[in-house]
């Protein structure tokens, strides 16, 4: 940055001195804003750690809840979240990668189709997460699931109810934009020369994409997947009524089972628990687990992304 204010001070004119005090005040104000935000981040982290660290142990992570949630651990919630995000990633990542390839490699910047797809992706990114929950309920459960029951099971209720698969697919839709954005960004950092070299060797466009573009964007796909998983693990609103339950005595065994989830667990424990004081350490510890999970995933993604950007420059 240029140090203009210093130059002015050297000139020593009165009006300019005034100006520089305003400068300092205003700059101080902007610094204050930054400090406030960082203070908030640190205090959330600090309070969660101080409230939940003592409860956190390997036992806590590997035990079922006991005695009306006042004792025991959060094992099924961790497994439920993991299963949900894995299925979600299997649905969202291929879709996201293919869409990103289309946007980066096939579509011309000005075509209306590409613009519409871009707008659709942005819309998916800003639509409130609760709407995805409604959509999951109306479309996946009320339409797809019900009709699957009618066709496959002769009307017996199997798919037309909240379950792991519908929650995962709902979440996949929510995280699709995350994948698309990171993969497209990574694809765009692949140098044009490499594509041209491949084409000049006689490879077709699809071969070029398969052998040059896709291997080059692996790190982008990885970032996208990690970010999507982190987002999916943290979101609760879409699974409120598409599959999450407060307590299960067993792990989900089939795609149409319901499941426990970390975020939903925190929500129900903190708002609807009968004895809040007794479960408070568990709540803090569960929140800490969720926070550490999303945090570490995000940190990994940031590091990979930083490397990609470095390559681009």
């Amino acid at each position: 940055m240029l140090k203009t204010s210093n130059i002015f001070q050297l000139q020593g004119r009165k009006g300019i001195l005034n100006r520089s005090t305003i400068d300092i005040l205003v700059e101080g104000l902007t610094i204050l804003a930054v400090v406030v935000i960082i203070f908030i981040i640190v205090s959330i982290l600090g309070i969660m750690i101080s409230g939940g660290w003592s409860r956190l142990s390997l036992k806590f992570l590997s035990e079922y809840p006991k005695d009306g949630m006042t004792k025991g651990g959060i094992f099924p919630a961790i497994i439920g979240t993991a299963l949900m995000t894995i299925i979600m990633a299997f649905a969202a990542v291929p879709f996201g990668v293919i869409t990103a390839i289309y946007l980066a490699e096939y579509a011309s910047e000005r075509s209306i189709i590409a613009k519409t797809i871009r707008f659709a992706v942005k819309t998916l990114a800003v639509v409130p997460s609760i709407i995805f929950g409604l959509f999951g309920l109306g479309f996946f459960i009320g339409f797809v699931g019900k009709n699957m029951d009618v066709i496959l099971n002769g009307g017996e209720l199997k798919w037309g109810q909240p379950s792991l698969i519908w929650a995962s697919l709902t979440m996949a839709l929510l995280t699709l934009p995350v994948v698309i954005v990171s993969v497209e960004e990574a694809i765009r950092t692949i140098p044009r020369d490499m594509r041209e070299a491949s084409l000049a060797l006689g490879a077709t466009k699809w071969q070029t994409i398969r052998k040059v573009v896709l291997p080059g964007s692996v790190s982008g796909i990885l970032t996208g997947t990690i970010l999507a998983v982190s987002r999916g693990a943290g979101e609760v609103a879409p699974i409120l009524f598409t599959g999450a339950v407060y307590f299960m005595s067993d792990l989900p065994h089939a795609l149409n089972d319901q499941f426990m989830s970390l975020g939903y667990h925190i929500y129900i424990m903190s708002t609807q628990s009968a004895n809040v004081d007794e479960t408070l350490p568990i709540q803090f510890a569960t929140t800490l687990v969720l926070l550490l999970l999303t945090f570490s995933l995000n940190a990994i993604a940031v590091v990979i992304r930083y490397r990609i950007r470095k390559r681009a420059n």
Partner: protein, 354 residues
């Protein structure tokens, strides 16, 4: 392919065929990729269709109601809560239409009482609550986020910037249920001690918590639009003897206004649709007043709290979907304005001046 090349003399011919086959695979790949990409448009349309489809019965029921049971509706409308409590036995036997009672005519009433004997689905308290929370959240989030963005984009040294930006963006990675939990357990208590108001969870607490969710969005987009201002503007301003502060506030900031406006709009969209924080920190009472220290119930929290308990296809169910449709339309509209109108403004501005 390589083995076929080695085989016999008419390999050029073979090669041609194989190449043609490869062109087919190319053609197929392109079509396949394109159709998958199209699906994202299809998803948006599907969300539209299915959220609206479930909301639609609200209006259809109303038509039925006005045709069949209009006098009864008016009669029930006049009675207040006390006599309504005495009445239900009578009305239960007289009308099977009781369950479908007047959804959309009560939509504009002041009561949100979906599970009483005489259900009323007044959206006014919900809209008011959402509005209140949004304003409070915005009053906190926008200044802090914009000032922080100005510092990072204009004043901070490049090295510091590299640190500050990802740290603030970490806030975006906080799940909203964590922020909600923090607001519920910590902020609510602390703020109540400072301000001493009656109800522990209210729109003020909820608003500040939602500001935490909106800050990273507003910050990132504002920072982007500030750094997108051509360097020549800044250099010209500095060259004329302006200080960095003057350059930032009189040159860069005005030039970036459309982008900042878009950032704030998207922040509003986030606050408007935020469900978990609203559920956990706003108290969830559908009151009609403008006191920021009273509990509120927002639109999205209403969906989140009640959808799990409604009967599939019930009026209440449809009304919740109607709320969802309204939320969807609103955020869709916000996004469209931010995306098309404001971006075009920015592009036009810089292209004409270059």
């Amino acid at each position: 392919m390589k083995s076929s090349l080695k085989k016999t003399s008419p390999k050029t011919f073979n090669y041609d065929i194989s190449k043609k086959r490869f062109r087919f695979s190319d053609w197929f790949a392109e079509k396949f990729i394109k159709s998958i990409a199209f699906l994202s448009i299809a998803f948006v349309i599907l969300i539209f269709v299915f959220v609206f489809r479930e909301a639609f019965p609200v209006f259809r029921m109303d038509v039925k109601e006005t045709v069949t049971a209009e006098p009864m509706v008016q009669e029930r409308y006049g009675v207040d809560d006390k006599s309504a409590a005495a009445e239900p036995e009578k009305s239960k036997e007289t009308s099977p239409a009781k369950k479908v009672s007047v959804p959309s005519s009560t939509l504009l009433s002041k009561d949100w009482m979906p599970v009483s004997d005489n259900p009323r689905y007044g959206l006014i308290p919900l809209f008011l609550g959402t509005f209140k929370v949004t304003i409070i959240a915005l009053l906190f989030a926008a200044p802090i986020a914009i000032l922080a963005a100005i510092y990072t984009a204009m004043f901070a040294k490049p090295r510091l910037r590299e640190i500050i930006k990802p740290v603030i963006e970490l806030l975006a990675g906080f799940p909203s249920v964590v922020i909600g939990f923090f607001a519920l357990m910590v902020m609510a208590t602390v703020l109540q001690e400072i301000f001493g108001y009656a109800s522990r969870l209210n729109s003020f607490v909820g608003g500040i918590a939602m500001a935490l969710a909106a800050i990273p969005i507003i910050y990132t987009l504002t920072e982007d639009s500030l750094t997108a201002i051509p360097k020549t503007y800044i250099e010209a301003s500095l060259g004329l003897g302006a200080s960095m502060r003057q350059t930032a506030f009189y040159v860069v900031l005005p030039a970036a206004v459309p982008g900042i406006f878009a950032a704030v709009l998207l922040g509003v969209g986030r606050i408007f649709g935020e469900t978990m924080i609203a559920l956990m920190a706003t108290g969830n009472a559908a009151l009609v007043n403008i006191n920021p220290f009273d509990s509120v119930r927002t639109l999205s929290a209403t969906i989140g709290a009640e959808m799990a308990e409604v009967v599939f296809g019930d009026t209440h169910y449809s009304v919740l979907f109607l709320i969802g449709s309204l939320l969807f339309i609103f955020t869709f509209f916000l996004n469209a304005v931010a995306e098309f109108y404001l971006k075009n403004v920015v592009i036009r501005r810089f292209q004409s001046k270059k």
